[in-house]
């Protein structure tokens, strides 16, 4: 009797799940059947492919908050109604692809920001291109995403931050010229972002006659003790281009424990409070907004909307990504009552964007879909564990 009741309950659960799934499918099918054109007087929906859960959720949640603020403020300035809809990619490219397919299926979405990670961009750019969805990343920095004729470098993909060729060469230059490094170790975490940036750093160091040791760690590595033991005591700098800041922090701690003097240098993936060993450096694709002239009103508006969050340097470019899409939408709407996805692409490079979130005016390069004169900013961990901006790479 008890077993029958269990089977009945299991069947009821299955039926309920099937009904829920079919209801969801209906909603999506309904969305698909809508006209692709969006009224210039209606709401412009912008998808946000970002990391909303998992170890890098801090990045995605910050980006979502800044993107939502841009939709509200920039939309109002341009006379457009805009809304940002989040799609969780996690750090897994396969999940990113599924999220992109859902985004593409929602015909009310005109353009997108993201994906936030290089692996996510590589996995989704073809799907987004095939659906004519312009997508502007505020944080994916792998060089090949816009250069070198790789399959993921589509004409629909843009970014508002500089790429790893700027970051990697800048880090190497700083290590040699400011830290007097002549011996370095470069880690990679065996995933696309990390390997790409590590390769750039390694090449740039070797061009400057630095002796380089390359160490590759699996994503499943939990204890880095033996890897740190491999690093020679006279190594000057250890580069940790990881996506998990806590791993860079563990390496910095282990170096101290093993009595090694090397300074740890993380990439933009380690721009996180979890990386906090004093004296360490990291670079980021955006500056500390507090130091950018004329941005206090925007910071205050963001703080009003997000009273529980603290200002970080990786969220604001998401504001810029939405800025670039809304300016393209505004230009596309000139003399028209409605626009389609493809119209956004035609206007992405149509002119400069004033009042850029990171200061000055913004313009895309005429040669690639990268920002003209994009940069990286350098931060150093202070004795109290906080990061202070100390320059630009």
């Amino acid at each position: 009797m008890k077993r029958r009741a269990l089977i009945a309950a299991a069947l009821a659960t299955l039926v309920a799940a099937s009904l829920a799934a079919s209801a969801g499918a209906d909603t999506q099918a309904g969305a698909r059947s809508e006209a692709a054109a969006v009224s210039c007087n209606g709401t412009i929906n912008i998808g946000n492919l970002t990391v909303l859960t998992g170890p890098a959720a801090f990045l995605g949640q910050s980006q979502q908050s800044w993107a939502a603020l841009a939709a509200k403020r920039v939309g109002a300035q341009l006379g457009l109604k805009a809304r940002v809809i989040g799609y969780d990619t996690t750090l897994d490219p396969a999940v990113a692809l599924t999220a992109a397919q859902r985004l593409v299926g929602n015909r009310s979405i005109l353009a997108a920001i993201g994906p936030a990670t290089s692996g996510g961009v590589a996995a989704t750019s073809k799907t987004l291109r095939d659906a004519s969805v312009v997508h502007v990343t505020p944080s994916a920095t792998r060089t090949s995403l816009t250069k070198g004729g790789t399959p993921e470098a589509t004409s629909y993909f843009y970014r508002v931050v500089a790429d790893d060729s700027v970051q990697g060469t800048g880090q190497a230059k700083h290590a040699v010229e400011r830290l007097n490094a002549d011996k370095a170790t470069v880690f990679d975490a065996q995933e696309p972002y990390s390997v790409g940036l590590a390769n750039t750093i390694e090449r740039a160091l070797e061009r400057r006659n630095v002796t380089v040791q390359r160490l590759s760690v699996s994503n499943n590595t939990t204890d880095f003790s033996s890897f740190v033991t491999r690093i020679a005591g006279d190594t000057d700098v250890v580069f940790t281009p990881f996506q998990v800041a806590a791993n860079a922090n563990q390496i910095a701690v282990l170096l101290k424990e093993q009595g090694k003097r090397a300074i740890v240098f993380g990439g933009d993936g380690t721009a996180d409070p979890a990386f906090k060993v004093p004296g360490s450096y990291f670079s980021n694709f955006a500056p500390d907004l507090n130091g950018v002239a004329g941005k206090q009103a925007i910071i205050n508006a963001w703080k009003r909307d997000n009273p529980e969050r603290t200002l970080d340097p990786f969220g604001p470019p998401a504001y810029g990504a939405v800025q670039s899409i809304l300016y393209a939408a505004k230009r596309a709407c000139t003399g028209k009552r409605s626009i389609e996805r493809v119209n956004i692409k035609r206007k992405m490079k149509a002119g400069a964007i004033p009042n850029w979130i990171l200061g000055g005016n913004f313009r895309f390069s005429s040669k690639t879909n990268d920002p003209l004169n994009g940069g990286f900013w350098l931060f150093q961990i202070q004795p109290d564990g906080t990061a202070r901006q100390v320059g630009r790479l």
């Binding site: 998992g54 170890p55 499943n220 939990t222 890897f227 033991t229 998990v244 806590a246 791993n247 701690v253």
Partner: protein, 315 residues
């Protein structure tokens, strides 16, 4: 020869090995008594690390705790051991006991299910971000100061505490199994469960006690390991896999075998990362390829493990 590097490798071996041994003991005790591969054990280890983090947070964190940091560390370990012992009992009661007479594949699948249930439940409750005990800042950095110095080489307090605590726990376990009535009952049950029951041993109680012990050791290992690394929902996967391997190498079902296997695997791992990959000229990122290739060879030569007994089939 870089002697500092060599001595550090020995210390790394002992630290890794002691963690693997503590976890491997849990695998081997449960297997010895139930003939069950408890794949959820790595996740019990992870829960232990989280419990330790909770206690640390409760007492104000690493930098400015409300009571002595040494007392906090002790409470972290005790709380993790207690919580994981209870968790072990709950897992046995609800996921394994109903399947005790089922085909052997059924509890195996149940164990995998419990493993995913635990890691994703923790992710749901606490998020997937990496947390840290911030041991670097505990007691004003005391844990990272040298406890032992030999020439230019030194061993930090953190390593000494980790290794000594693990050895003490292993000694206590050995005494418990070798010198107490319940230990004798455990040994009898592991040899022949039906015969032990006929002799009046309460099998359910013995099995439950094995889960209590394995959970407590995993909890302690979780705290000791997290002092050196990070805390996150998937942190149990790699140490769990290595500890399971250690239990098999030592001879699954054998308590001294699990200890030996743990230390042996820790040594092989540390030596491979530091030296062997260099000598044979392959990237250090492929160290697991070397480690597990060596283990395949070892298992081909001695399938029952170092201290395991060969499975004799009577005809």
């Amino acid at each position: 020869m870089d002697y500092d590097q060599f001595f550090q490798t020995i210390v790394n071996s002992a630290t890794l090995g002691s963690t693997y041994a503590l976890i491997a003991l849990g695998y081997t005790m449960v297997y010895g008594i139930l003939k069950l591969l408890n794949f959820a054990h790595g996740d019990v280890f992870m829960v232990g690390a989280y419990v330790g983090f909770g206690v640390l947070t409760l007492f104000g964190g690493a930098i400015d705790p409300s009571i002595s940091i040494w007392l906090v560390l002790l409470l972290m370990a005790l709380a993790a051991m207690a919580a994981c012992a209870v968790l072990g009992v709950v897992i046995e009661r609800f996921a394994y006991r109903p399947l005790r007479d089922a085909p052997r594949i059924a509890p195996l699948i149940s164990a995998l299910g419990v493993s995913f249930f635990l890691s994703y439940s923790v992710q749901l409750l606490f998020g997937a971000e990496h947390r840290t005990y911030d041991s670097f800042n505990m007691a004003g950095g005391k844990l990272y100061e040298p406890a032992v110095t030999i020439g230019s080489f030194s061993i930090s307090w953190l390593r000494v505490i980790g290794i000594v605590a693990a050895l003490v726990l292993m000694l206590l376990l050995w005494l418990l199994v070798a010198r107490t009535r319940i230990g004798k009952a455990m040994r009898a049950t592991s040899i022949d469960r039906d015969a032990a029951a006929m002799m009046g041993i309460d099998i359910d109680r013995v099995i439950m006690f094995a889960f209590v012990l394995s959970g407590a050791l995993a909890g302690a290992a979780g705290v000791l390991f997290a002092l050196r690394t990070d805390v996150y929902p998937q942190m149990g996967f790699t140490p769990g896999l290595f500890a399971f391997t250690a239990a098999v190498i030592g001879g699954i079902g054998s308590i001294p075998g699990a200890m030996l296997g743990g230390f042996l695997l820790g040594t092989v791992e540390a030596l491979t990362v530091t030296y062997l990959t260099q000598w044979i000229g392959i990237p250090v990122g492929l160290s697991n390829l070397v480690i597990f290739s060596l283990l395949i060879v070892f298992m081909l030569v001695r399938p029952q493990g170092i201290l395991g007994r060969p499975d004799i089939k009577k005809v």
